[in-house]
């Protein structure tokens, strides 16, 4: 017989009470009133001489009652035939997920995290399968299950420790949600030796900072049986503030005024900070440091001290807090983009009935971009050099034979042009440009046409895919041309008119593309130029054509910096803040921006600088509540480690509880208690009556 709660058996010690009471001479229950007790002192109860127990049967009944009660509370059960088979060699999959984000650079944090991971590695058993992952902006596998199993049992922990020792926190932000979901996916991988896995534990070792991103956790389908154990690295509370430069706030004038967003941690006890500019070599470039006031838990934007106009890159430093890793932010002055669009026509740019009038105005000059529309035909002579300077071309109608060859070659080098079919005479030029055998173009009849069957999956129309913006039905095309392409052509129709004829088609030419529009945007042809769709459509067209590089100079660590030159045979030389240099082909983004600082891209005789900074959220180092993870469905086990042995013990206890619940022997014991109590009442009553009778007779 076993007991579910055996410590209640200690209650059996209470039988000492009845035994003692039976040894003590019974205190008379009679009460005698007396005039005064001033001369009397209480007599202590006397134990009967020779330890003679009085009323032995009564005593036995009372002791039995207590024993049965104690046994009932101990919840006995028989486990002879229902013993739970103990699995001695149970498999366990353990994933250690170690945070290597920038916030782990704080003093002593990484050492503690590593020692926690090493403690888990030391506790592994030969049956365990272990994977070690680190994460910041994205997770990285240090050791996977297959490697772990392939190593010798004695070497596993030490090899994993060696790999972990070679890792240190980087400068990236914390994508905790992505890391957790990726680590959970590790469990889906088949176990290396094919044995069934009964325990799956994911140990998250992190400072669990408030600024960690939890994207992707909501509604994530966790593999069955996975338990997440949180191991928060204890960090001494420190006042921390961080900053980032708002790229959108940068302006160029006589002086540069930069907006800086500063955040103060909610656990901070500092409120006053200073902002100060430094040049690339660390010397101060502006005057006195600017003092700012920011209460704990708040984020505000400030105008940083002005920078001289000629400054191309600088570093701003925040002082006044106790944590330094996030106190620097880098600024790269935006440079204006100069783009040229070739217009193959002779229209005046001041005639509002002509298409060029609208093309000239659809690209206004901005601080980041200056678009210039040129005509490659100067004084009746076509100039291929002018065309080569262009990032994009618009061909209204027809082309001269010498223009066709040059333009086709220009297109074949990866450029994009928009061919506007203005009349039926454009067919030969279009066929020549696209090298198609024959394209039939005819003037469409009818009052007007509307756009239909727009391909919103194409990058050109993707910005309009949202239902709020995808209504093109208010654009009337008074005139348009019906185009018929040969059946074998690779033309992709991006939009059609409501009569079924193509409105906009994409025809590849070499590495480039020719977009063919079957109607013009001049008022005589359509309302396109007058609609709200025209400007974003043309901007998207320019961006998609590769002629423009997005004017962005501020990046976060881990971002890919787009190439400053989109095409051509130029090689872009990249220089990192630590001096390392790398070469990338034109158009290839630079993806090794893993350090905060100024990155320099050199191509040809041009040089462009980009600033890479820590994400501002990384400065929010106050601890996150584990409830936040639980709310997002993370299957948290406990906040502390639960070893496998203990888990087995818990399971065994549950099994025993189930057995006990099924048998419910305590009920019989309670019935026994009631029966014994009944007997005790009868016996004690009889004894009392007998004593009273004896007293009366004496």
């Amino acid at each position: 017989m076993n007991f579910l709660t055996p410590w209640f058996l200690l209650g059996a010690a209470a039988i000492a009470g009845p035994i003692l009471f039976h040894l003590i001479r019974r205190i008379a229950r009679e009460r005698m009133t007396f005039s005064s007790l001033m001369f009397l002192k209480p007599t202590p109860p006397r134990v009967t001489r020779h330890r003679k127990l009085e009323h032995l049967w009564l005593l036995l009944l009372r002791c039995l009652c207590l024993l049965l009660l104690a046994a009932g509370f101990a919840r006995p059960f028989f486990s002879k035939n229902n013993a739970m088979p103990v699995a001695p060699d149970e498999e366990r999959q353990l994933v250690l997920l170690v945070d290597t984000s920038a916030s782990m650079k704080r003093e002593g944090v990484w050492d503690k995290a590593r020692s926690l991971a090493e403690k888990y590695l030391a506790q592994t058993t030969p049956a365990d399968q272990v994977a070690v992952l680190t994460f910041d902006r994205r997770p990285q596998t240090v050791v996977n299950f297959t490697e772990w199993v392939s190593w010798g049992v004695d070497q596993r922990a030490s090899l994993a420790r060696q790999r972990l020792a070679a890792i240190s926190p980087g400068w990236m932000g914390t994508q905790l949600g992505l890391a957790l979901t990726s680590a959970a996916e590790k469990f889906r991988e088949d176990s290396a030796n094919g044995k069934p896995v009964s325990h799956r534990e994911l140990v998250l070792i992190s400072d669990l900072q408030e600024g960690a991103k939890l994207d992707g956790l909501q509604g994530h389908d966790w593999p069955s049986g996975v338990k997440v154990i949180l191991e928060r690295v204890d960090v001494k509370p420190q006042s921390n503030a961080g900053l980032e430069i708002q790229s959108s706030g940068a302006t160029v004038g006589d002086d540069q005024r930069v907006r800086v967003r500063v955040t103060n941690d909610r656990d901070s006890n500092r409120e006053k900070f200073q902002l100060n500019w430094q040049s690339e070599n660390g010397t101060a470039v502006a005057g006195e440091p600017m003092e700012i006031y920011l209460p704990p838990g708040q984020t505000r934007s400030f105008s940083a001290p002005t920078l001289p106009a000629e400054t191309t890159a600088a570093e701003i430093q925040l002082t006044g807090d106790e944590v330094n890793f996030d106190n620097h932010s880098y600024f790269a002055a935006p440079e204006a983009e100069h783009l040229t669009i070739a217009w193959f026509g002779l229209d005046s740019d001041n005639d509002p009935v002509k298409m060029r009038y609208y093309l000239q105005r659809v690209f206004p000059e901005t601080p980041g971009r200056q678009v210039k529309v040129i005509s490659p035909t100067v004084q009746q002579a076509f100039s291929p050099e002018l065309l080569n300077q262009a990032a994009f071309a618009v061909i209204p109608g027809r082309l001269a034979p010498e223009e066709i060859t040059s333009t086709r070659d220009w297109l074949a080098r990866g450029k994009t042009a928009l061919f506007v079919v203005t009349d039926e005479q454009a067919a030969p030029s279009l066929a020549a440009l696209t090298s198609l055998p024959e394209i039939k173009i005819s003037e469409a009849a009818g009052d007007y046409a509307l756009l239909d069957e727009i391909d919103f999956t194409h990058p050109l129309f993707a910005p309009f895919a949202d239902p709020r913006f995808n209504d093109f039905t208010h654009i009337h095309f008074w005139k348009h041309r019906r185009m018929e392409f040969p059946p074998v052509t690779q033309a992709r129709v991006l939009a059609k008119f409501d009569d079924g004829s193509p409105a906009l088609a994409q025809i590849p030419v070499g590495q480039g593309n020719l977009l063919v529009l079957a109607a013009g945007w001049n008022p005589a042809d359509s309302q396109l130029a007058l609609s709200s769709k025209f400007l974003p459509l043309m901007q998207t067209l320019l961006d998609w054509s590769g002629g423009a590089v997005p004017a962005r100079f501020q990046f976060e660590t881990g971002d890919s910096i787009p190439s400053p030159v989109s095409s051509g045979g130029a090689v872009v030389q990249w220089q990192k803040p630590d001096g390392k240099k790398e070469s990338h082909a034109a158009g290839a983004a630079f993806s090794e921006a893993d350090l905060p600082g100024i990155y320099t891209a050199t191509f040809g005789d041009k040089r462009r600088q980009f600033a890479v900074n820590l994400p501002l959220d990384e400065s929010r180092t106050a601890p996150m509540s584990p409830d936040e993870l639980a709310r997002l469905g993370v299957p948290l086990q406990t906040l502390s480690q639960i070893p496998v042995v203990k888990a087995q013990e818990i399971q065994r206890h549950l099994h025993r509880a189930e057995l006990e619940n099924r048998q419910k022997l305590w009920r019989w014991l309670i019935v026994g208690v009631l029966a014994v109590m009944f007997g005790e009442i009868i016996l004690s009553g009889w004894l009392a009556r007998r004593e009273k009778t004896a007293e009366v007779t004496t």
């Binding site: 005039s35 005064s36 001033m38």
Partner: protein
Amino acid sequence: MAIRSLELRARVVVEGFWNGLHRSPYHGYSVEFTEYRQYSPGDETRYLDWRLYARSDRYYLKKFEDETNLRCHMLVDQSRSMSYGSVGHTKSDYARTLAATLAWFLNEQGDAIGLFTFAGRVRDYLPARHRHGHLRQLMLVLEKESEGRETNLGEPLRRVAELARKRGLIVLISDLLAPIDELERNLGRLTAVGHELVIFQVLDPNELAFDFNRAMLFQDVESQKDIYLDPETVRAEYQRKLQSHGLGVEGICRKLGSAFHRVVTNQPMDIALFNFLQSRNRRGKLIRRRTQSTSPS
């Protein structure tokens, strides 16, 4: 205590007492002859004893004891401890009968009788008077049941000293079950103002012998406190303490010049009355001797 009426009980006791005496030493003592004194010129001639002059041919004056009206106050304790009794009547019954007996007796002698009943404080007060109906009123007050609690002599005796301003006889009937020092302080207050004090300590036979045969819970009738007692164990100690207390009270009485009588509730009442009168007689003789020794001859 078989006679229910207190008045009748007192009367029976007093008359029985008188019948038992062959010659009352107190009969007519109010105008009692005390001594002869030789005549001196200037003395009143009406007190000359002419018969003695006839026999001895000398002039002697007869001297008489001055007749005084005694003012007596009975102080009857009616605290809850007096409600104890093991012989068919309580100490309170006995005390009230004793008070009534003394009152009857003194009233018959023509003395003014007053009454205080107390139990923690003075409950009833009848001023000392000698007139028709007063004795009956006194009996009615004595017949009232006790409602008191503890034996606290301090407050009642202070009140008695205030109310009985004229010097007289104070008869205190109580069990005196209170601490000795407290008793001394309170009784001294009465004698200090010139009262003559006679104390009757009324005790139950069980209080003296503590004759219980088995252990049980004993409850104090005043404090309602329960204690477990084995009489065999505590009897000797109890009796020693009680005796010590009695000796203490006697010592106080001696110091204060008061008469002390311990009466047990199973004793006949007339014995108590006899003891009282005897002590009065002794005291009277003592006073006379003192007066003779101090008076100029």
